[in-house]
């Protein structure tokens, strides 16, 4: 555990410790209506928002987020244009980015970390940068107070989880199933199993993402976990119904989580 907690982690821990389940909607940056969708999500009970920086080859994403990424790229979205958009947001909750590693690598670790901080971003999720490859980036992020949110997967043997958690800042992203992002009809058993294993080895907030598809599944996951990411379910609504549909959905999940 780091000697001092990042601001993101301090804030999320405080909410968690006060008994609140953490709700983290995901919005693909550059998609039509994305900034309004973030405002709507923040206004309706999100605790943190994950902003996707679209990439040409998103190997951890299923059809919905692939489609959203492609649309954003076709509309000319770049990391720079999205971070400019982020600067215009004043939503009062922390924002983190989700991006593939080549975006970071291409910009350069220090430069990219500085760009994120300047835009008001609190953390980064890099799904194709596993623990063994993460040292250089993590150092650059630590140096500027940016949280690197590590992913933990159901395939990890027990000995690996404490090492992943030790390197996680902000929260641990507990991957809910074997597979890529997207909505599923039921919550995979792995979602709660892995969250339980993580809770046994870490005090860092444990947030389940990938395959948590509606408010009922969010509640089910949060019986064990500290919170949930809502990805494809949010992005689909943004593409189909615009920012208002995102706001309504986030409100519904918030209400469901608050019954716990």
């Amino acid at each position: 555990m780091p000697t001092t907690l990042t601001t993101l982690e301090t804030e999320l821990r405080a909410k968690r410790d006060a008994g609140r389940k953490l709700l983290v909607p995901y919005v693909t940056g550059g998609l039509v209506g994305w900034t309004d969708a973030i405002r709507a999500a923040a206004a309706h009970g999100a605790d943190c928002i994950e902003i996707g920086l679209p990439f040409s080859d998103p190997v951890m994403d299923g059809p919905i987020i692939q489609q959203a990424s492609q649309r954003a790229l076709d509309d000319g979205a770049t990391p720079v244009s999205i971070l400019e958009g982020v600067r215009t947001l004043d939503v009062g909750i922390p924002l983190v980015v989700m991006c593939y590693y080549n975006t970071v690598h291409h910009a350069g670790h220090e430069r990219f970390a500085a760009q994120l901080v300047q835009a008001g971003i609190s953390g980064a999720i890099i799904p194709d940068l596993p623990l063994e490859e993460s040292a250089l980036w993590c150092q650059a992020a630590d140096d500027v107070g940016l949280s690197t949110i590590m992913l933990a997967a159901p395939t990890a043997p027990d000995e690996r989880l404490p090492r992943v958690c030790a390197r996680a800042r902000g929260f641990v992203y507990s991957v809910g199933l074997l597979g890529v992002t997207g909505e599923r009809s039921t919550l995979a058993a792995t979602a709660t199993e892995l969250a339980r294993r993580l809770k046994q080895v870490t005090d860092v907030p444990v947030i389940v993402g990938v395959g948590v598809s509606n408010s009922a599944q969010a509640v089910e996951a949060c019986r064990v976990a500290d919170g949930v990411v809502q990805g494809a379910s949010v992005v689909r609504r943004l593409m189909e119904g615009g920012p208002d549909a995102v706001g309504e959905y986030v409100a519904e999940v918030r209400q469901a989580l608050d019954t716990l």
């Binding site: 040409s56 190997v59 492609q70 690598h105 194709d128 940068l129 043997p157 690996r160």
Partner: protein, 390 residues
């Protein structure tokens, strides 16, 4: 193994690096699978019974050793001694069978019931489907929708062999996107499935393991050259997409004085652009835009339509041991016809890249012995070339 340890093409570092290239940039879900694969390969490769089983399959099923053919007509026309390593005569028509027999035997040893594979031109897909049929494994092949269109014969071949072929409609709908989709499948099926990657690319241990399975090309060719000509060739040439056939033949000559030439298509010159990037699990030279978005490669041959390159090629380029020139589609079409008309051998369009470079550079290689890896036969390209030439 002892040769490999002393060679310029030795085993990668513990983190799977060749110099500053390679590594294991995969989703967390796949890390244990890559570790398991690495450990299993290490153990199998050191196990004489595994090597014996693979060697037997290479000999009795794939038809190894592949022969060496000297091109007397074309050679005298170009003023060089041109020698072909005939990987096109292997079962399934390309060098790809060397790798899939190794990987499928390994998959069985690891207790996997199913393999997934990506394919560009369909050569690796056909080889994977073949090996899966032979060993009784379920097989699913991902292929870009554009390639499904231009290589319909190979699609049918894979289906005949019992494989399921899925057309990939995302991105550029070619090899790069087929790799993405195969990786997505593997993320979801990793407990029962082995990803039978078709080139010297991807996360560690693939670039190393696939090279070792293709090392036989270079080892045989070196012995055959010494036996027939009493000397090593002056130049060793192969086409490069991901770079497996080139790595295979280079491995036999990297420690000789031979020039090593990997020919890339002008529209897919990953090394030529000289910009490192990270995609498909590896750090290597990569065609990308100013924000790191991976660019689409363009080549007349589906098998070379790839914006990256295997990390060991990036390493060999960075230390100046191998050269990576490019040729245009027009030169490739000419090379394709040249070998057919002068030697009675129809090469795969991929290999026609190597021929195109040789015929262009022959004036600068007068009297030299040039060894080319003819890594695949051109039957699969005949329909496409009929359209191009009519």
């Amino acid at each position: 193994m002892s040769i490999a340890e002393k060679s310029m093409m030795s085993d990668p570092s513990e983190s799977g690096r060749f110099g500053e290239f390679g590594g294991r940039f995969v989703p967390e879900t796949l890390v244990p699978a890559c570790e398991e694969l690495e450990a299993s390969f290490r153990q199998a490769w050191a196990d004489p019974s595994f090597r014996a089983e693979l060697n037997q399959a290479l000999k009795e099923y794939a038809g190894r050793p592949s022969m060496l053919t000297e091109c007397y007509q074309l050679g005298s026309k170009l003023g060089i001694r041109l020698v072909l390593k005939r990987e096109d005569l292997n079962h399934t028509g390309s060098h790809k069978i060397n790798n899939v027999l190794g990987q499928v035997l390994l998959a069985k040893r690891m207790g996997k019931k199913r393999i997934v594979a990506e394919t560009g031109a369909g050569q690796h897909g056909v080889a994977a489907a073949t090996a899966a049929a032979l060993m009784g494994l379920e097989c699913k092949v991902y292929m870009g929708a554009v390639d499904v269109e231009r290589q319909s014969l190979n699609v049918f071949r894979m289906k005949l062999l019992g494989a399921e072929v899925e057309a990939v409609h995302s991105g550029s709908r070619t090899l790069k996107d087929a790799v993405n989709e195969a990786m997505r499948d593997w993320v979801a099926s990793v407990e029962s499935t082995h990803y039978c990657l078709g080139s010297v690319m991807g996360p560690h241990p693939y670039p190393w393991m696939v090279r070792e399975f293709h090392r036989v090309i270079g080892t045989e060719a070196r012995e055959q050259c010494l036996e027939r000509y009493g000397q090593d060739p002056d130049v060793v040439v192969a086409c490069v997409g991901g770079g497996s056939n080139a790595i295979g033949i280079f491995s036999g000559f990297v420690d000789t004085k031979a020039r090593l030439i990997g020919v890339e298509p002008a529209g897919g010159a990953a090394v030529g652009r000289g910009q490192p990037g990270v995609v498909h699990g590896m750090r290597s030279y990569l065609m990308q835009d100013e924000y790191g978005q991976v660019q689409e490669a363009h080549s007349i041959s589906a098998g070379l339509d790839y914006p990256g390159v295997g990390p060991e090629h990036s390493y060999l380029a960075s230390i100046g041991r191998a050269e990576y020139p490019t040729v245009t589609d027009t030169e490739v079409i000419a090379g394709f016809q040249l070998l057919a008309k002068t030697e009675g051998i129809i090469p795969a369009l991929e290999c026609a890249h190597a021929l195109a470079w040789i015929s262009r550079e022959a004036p600068n290689m007068q009297g030299q012995t040039v060894l080319m890896n003819l890594s695949g036969r051109g039957d699969k390209d005949v329909a496409q070339m009929m359209d191009v030439l009519s």
